[in-house]
């Protein structure tokens, strides 16, 4: 066993003088279906923590010394049950002072829930605010991301920009937490904004055939598809749509093609022109609060060191560590309550944007619209084509219809 306290709640670290570090627990989907999100860990987190620890750590008044930060990673196997279990282990065995939760509801929700149960502060990101909020009210967990309404509005703005006002929108949402959170927003707001809606219902994830959905889209004359799908489902849908002669002129997708690998596996014919919500990219202008590195710097370094293409998740691995450092710098001691209160008072700019939590423990980070574009060298990359409400993030291309 580790330094778990004897008190029932508050899994604070080892008591008093023995303190040699501050522990941050990070459950990560290293293996399993979400492993795409897990990629880049621990590289990004360690990148963030290195300058601090090189400097001896963070000064905590109670101990009157600098304490280095120790990151404890643990694999959730992309399974929410396992995520709960390993988070418990982090809390009671490792005695972490703080938890970082991110990467889809399957990680963010169980980790936040565990923090609530044990009274350990949680910095949560990268999971749409709506499903996270459903688990509240929270006492110990804080969350920063965007809302589905904001994505909706971004999409709507881009459709207008692309000259698609009032067209028929096909809804492609699964019956998983994300899909179920997204679909009602679209279903409700689209008609209000003057769009026609074709809704075939929430399909089960892992679906192997899409002909009924495609048939309905064809019948209803769908021109725009909006969805929030897991990548394999969306790729399979697009392939079959193409086989069955359904060709939307615009597609606005959440989650479905976040990663370069997903786009590549789908093939340039189908991926080119797809639009997605971009939460972080090399074009994001916010410098690191730790080193001043820009998004571009960080991502170039990543590609250089790992040989992998950039992904938006890197920023959301880096930013929570930034928040944690900022928070800890403001803590006089390491009592969970102290840390919690410090989180609540956060007001800073991270690589993913400004963070300031409201009374519901929520902060809103910016998103912009990206469009997958076939590059001259035959690879696919995302261009930023709409920066509605977040004009500090520069547009890098013009919005266009799918061929």
């Amino acid at each position: 066993g580790g330094g778990g306290g004897t008190e029932e709640t508050g899994g604070g670290g080892a008591a008093g003088d023995e303190r040699t570090s501050i522990k941050i627990g990070i459950p990560n989907p290293t293996t399993g279906p979400l492993a795409d999100f897990g990629e880049g860990t621990p590289w990004a987190e360690e990148l963030a923590i290195k300058p601090i620890n090189d400097d001896g750590g963070i000064y905590i008044e109670e101990y009157d010394k600098k304490l280095p930060i120790e990151l404890v990673f643990i694999d959730t196997e992309s399974d929410s049950t396992k995520a709960s279990e390993v988070t418990q282990k982090l809390i009671v065995d490792e005695g972490v002072d703080l938890l970082i939760a991110r990467h889809t509801p399957d990680t963010a929700l169980p980790v936040s829930a565990m923090g609530e149960r044990y009274g350990v502060p949680v910095i949560s990101t990268e999971c749409p605010i709506d499903p996270w909020k459903a688990g509240g009210p929270y006492e110990w967990a804080f969350h920063a991301f965007w809302t589905i309404d904001s994505v909706y509005e971004l999409y709507r703005d881009s459709w207008v920009e692309a000259g698609l006002q009032g067209k028929t929108v096909g809804l492609l949402f699964p019956n998983d937490p994300d899909g179920l959170a997204w679909a009602p927003v679209f279903a409700e707001r689209l008609p209000q904004d003057g769009y026609k809606v074709s809704d075939p219902g929430r399909y089960p994830i892992g679906n192997s055939d899409w002909s009924s959905v495609i048939n309905q889209f064809k019948q209803d004359g769908v021109e725009i598809i909006a969805g929030c799908n897991i990548p394999p489902d969306f790729a399979n849908f697009m392939k079959q749509a193409s086989q069955l002669g359904f060709e939307p002129i615009f597609s606005s997708q959440g989650r479905s093609i976040l990663f370069n690998a997903s786009a590549t596996a789908m093939g340039p014919e189908l991926a080119d022109g797809q639009t997605i919500e971009v939460w972080w990219s090399p074009h994001h202008p916010y410098p690191s609060s730790i080193t001043g590195q820009t998004a571009k710097d960080i991502l170039e370094l990543y590609t250089q060191e790992s040989g992998r293409v950039w992904t938006a998740t890197i920023g959301y691995k880096y930013a929570p560590v930034e928040i944690a450092i900022d928070v800890l710098k403001r803590c006089k001691n390491l009592e969970p309550e102290t840390i919690r209160d410090a989180i609540a008072e956060t007001d800073m700019v991270t690589v993913v944007g400004p963070i300031k939590y409201n009374e519901d423990h929520l902060a809103f980070t910016p998103i912009v619209l990206g469009q997958w574009t076939l590059q001259d060298d035959g690879t696919l990359d995302v261009e930023i084509v709409n920066n509605w409400k977040n004009s500090e993030i520069p547009e890098t291309g013009e919005i266009r219809l799918m061929k």
Binding site: T30, I74, S80, K89, P110, A113, P174, P177, R202
Partner: protein, 337 residues
């Protein structure tokens, strides 16, 4: 004759040892770290899960791949009852168990007509269907699942005590069941159902009781799991992984033995906790361990030890008289393959 652990003094010794173990277990929160408590809590839950799978597969010959049905029901019942109706958690566990039992009765009428792997697959598909149903059912939060808000801040030791009691109950129930007439009928059915039937055993009723007991307790364990995990979500609650865990525990420990699942649960929880630090390769190691154990001890660790030394802890075997002489004759020498 190697050992005779079953008669006279050794029975008393065993009884005393048992009491000591139980008392020791109850005292864990008073001396152990919070992690120790959590460790034993998980062990207790998995013992229960394993015992109940063993009751079905090891004794009744009902190899189920659908125990997750009851885990999920237990979790959801707790969530619904406590969130919507303010039912106390303890009561929620019991009501959840009863609901699961009712469901198992319904399912029995459909599924008990099937045998062998047909039954196994049918139970699994039922669970998969439940995922689809729960994921589309708004009342239970659909795909988003539900937070059991009442358990926030609940001390681990409380859940541990619940789990310990449940684990002990499962063990006691299995032992008593097997020593009862019902157990005799169960094993007879497992070995040859039509012969059992013509010997007067009501196959359906016997299996039904078994399913009912198993579903009730599995559901209570499901409730306990979700008490400690707070968030219940259909894809995880009705995932086959629950049954796989139960199966791992039983098969590694020793199928068809009462003590096997206890050892199996300890091994399982230990491996899970220990290996989680190895990230990517932890699952590979777990898989390899599962394979190796089965290859070298196909009856599980305790099952193999029992065979070797010819004794059984907590045996359900009936002896025609008090002196036990039936050392099992080894496998066919030079058997095929």
């Amino acid at each position: 004759m190697k050992t005779n652990l079953l008669s006279g003094r050794s029975t008393i010794l065993k009884f005393i040892a048992l009491i000591i173990v139980i008392v020791a277990l109850f005292s864990v929160p008073s001396w152990g770290s919070q992690y120790t408590v959590m460790f034993f809590m998980l062990v207790c839950m998995y013992i229960g899960l394993g015992q109940m799978w063993n009751l079905l597969a090891g004794y009744a010959g009902l190899v189920s791949l659908g125990q997750q049905i009851y885990i999920g029901i237990g979790g959801y019942a707790l969530a619904v009852l406590s969130n919507y109706y303010g039912v106390p958690l303890f009561l929620g566990l019991i009501i959840g168990g009863l609901v699961a039992m009712l469901i198992s009765v319904g399912l029995s009428y459909l599924l008990l007509r099937m045998k062998g792997m047909y039954f196994a697959v049918a139970t699994w598909i039922t669970a998969e269907a439940l995922i689809v149903i729960f994921a589309g059912w708004n009342y239970v939060g659909s795909g988003n699942g539900m937070f059991i808000k009442a358990v926030r801040g609940m001390p681990t030791s409380t859940i541990y005590y619940y789990s310990l009691v449940v684990a002990i109950i499962t063990v006691i129930i299995v032992v008593f069941l097997l020593r009862s007439k019902l157990g005799l009928g169960l094993i007879a059915i497992r070995d040859n159902d039509s012969a059992a039937e013509t010997s007067g055993v009501n196959i359906f009723k016997t299996k039904l009781y078994c399913m009912m007991i198993s579903s009730f307790l599995t559901s209570v364990i499901g409730g306990l799991f979700y008490m400690s995990q707070v968030w219940v979500q259909p894809y995880a609650a009705f995932a086959i992984n629950w049954t796989i865990a139960g199966m791992f525990i039983v098969v590694i420990g020793g199928i068809g033995t009462v003590s096997g699942p206890i050892l199996g649960a300890i091994i399982y929880v230990f491996l899970n906790q220990y290996l989680s630090q190895f990230g990517g390769i932890s699952m590979i190691i777990l898989g390899i361990i599962a394979i190796l154990v089965i290859l070298f001890a196909s009856k599980g660790i305790l099952g193999t030890i029992q065979d070797k030394f010819g004794f059984e802890i907590l045996s359900a075997r009936r002896h025609s008289d008090r002196t036990f002489t039936g050392k099992p004759i080894e496998e066919l020498e030079g058997s095929n393959l």
